[in-house]
């Protein structure tokens, strides 16, 4: 069987490959959106708050 014969799928190429292409896109879309969701949740680097000077609740007199 030649490649062009294989791709034509007996004249049904558009429908057969279309089905598998849509499926591939759907699977890929799910995986990509999931990996984005996962990345958004990755722990952010923790910054320790830098406090310049001293903060107190008491007013200076």
């Amino acid at each position: 069987m030649s490649l062009s014969e294989f791709l034509s799928m007996g004249g049904y190429g558009f429908y057969v490959w279309g089905s598998y292409l849509v499926s591939l896109i759907a699977f890929a879309a799910e995986l990509v959106s999931l990996s984005r969701r996962k990345k958004a949740l990755a722990p952010q680097p923790k910054h320790k708050p830098v406090i310049r000077g001293s903060i107190t609740n008491e007013t200076t007199s």
């Binding site: 598998y20 849509v22 499926s23 759907a26």
Partner: protein
């Protein structure tokens, strides 16, 4: 070992992480094997020519859409009845993948219908009930998204999911109950399947691949949901009173 501890999302999180590769890798291998058998081993159908090869993705997708809905409703019911957070999170996680497979079954069905029936779509029993299944998934997802409190969202979603289960047997038996354009079941629980062995093999391998894929993806999403919902609780626990 106390298995009950894994009912707590925080404890299940690392276990789910360890399980994922055990499903993801076999899924990839079986997709490759199923496509190989489906395109290079299975012969051309004498009635439908090569158009029937759409079956290898269409039938597994349609089955997964139905199975996952029943599983979703089961977990939603457990989460509701026993107030189990993890089960409700599992239901939410399944919804997206189930919707994806149902969407695929409709699109590949249209692409199969056009060359064999001469139409993309008819409002026959099986197709209409499958479309309703997609709407049920969409309704579940959007209902949950519209409620801020996650536990209230779980309960509301559970009601919708459980009521919607009635649609699954309607889809399954629609080809027997009504006179439809859609062909009957290719594989019966009792009796011989009505297709050649390599065709059946390709379809079953693809079905197994879709199952493994679903488990892997649902576990990955479940881990995201656990983090999204419970990390705030973890932060709050750290705030000194």
């Amino acid at each position: 070992m106390n298995l009950y501890k894994y009912a707590a999302p925080v404890n299940f999180y690392p276990l789910a992480g360890k399980l994922i590769p055990w499903f993801a890798i076999p899924a990839a291998i079986l997709f490759a094997a199923g496509l190989y058998v489906g395109f290079f081993v299975a012969p051309t159908d004498f009635q439908q020519g090569d158009a029937y090869r759409i079956m290898f993705i269409h039938v597994p997708a349609a089955w997964m859409g139905m199975f996952l809905y029943v599983l979703l409703a089961f977990y939603a019911a457990i989460g509701w009845a026993f107030n189990a957070r993890l089960a409700s999170m599992m239901a939410s996680s399944i919804a997206t993948t189930g919707a994806m497979f149902t969407f695929l079954s409709l699109v590949t069905g249209a692409l199969w219908g056009k060359p064999t029936w001469g139409t993309w779509w008819v409002w026959d029993a099986r197709m209409t009930s499958t479309l309703i299944l997609l709407f049920l998934y969409a309704g579940f997802i959007s209902l949950q998204a519209s409620i801020d409190d996650p536990r209230r969202a779980d309960r509301a979603g559970a009601v919708l999911a459980i009521v919607g289960v009635i649609n699954v047997p309607i889809i399954y038996f629609s080809v027997q109950w009504w006179n439809t354009l859609h062909q009957g079941a290719t594989i019966r629980i009792l009796g011989k399947p009505s297709i050649a062995p390599p065709m059946l093999a390709a379809m079953l391998i693809m079905l197994a691949a879709c199952w493994l894929y679903s488990v892997a993806v649902v576990l990955i999403r479940l881990r995201c949901i656990i983090l999204e919902r419970e990390q705030n609780a973890a932060h709050l626990a750290e705030v000194p009173v």
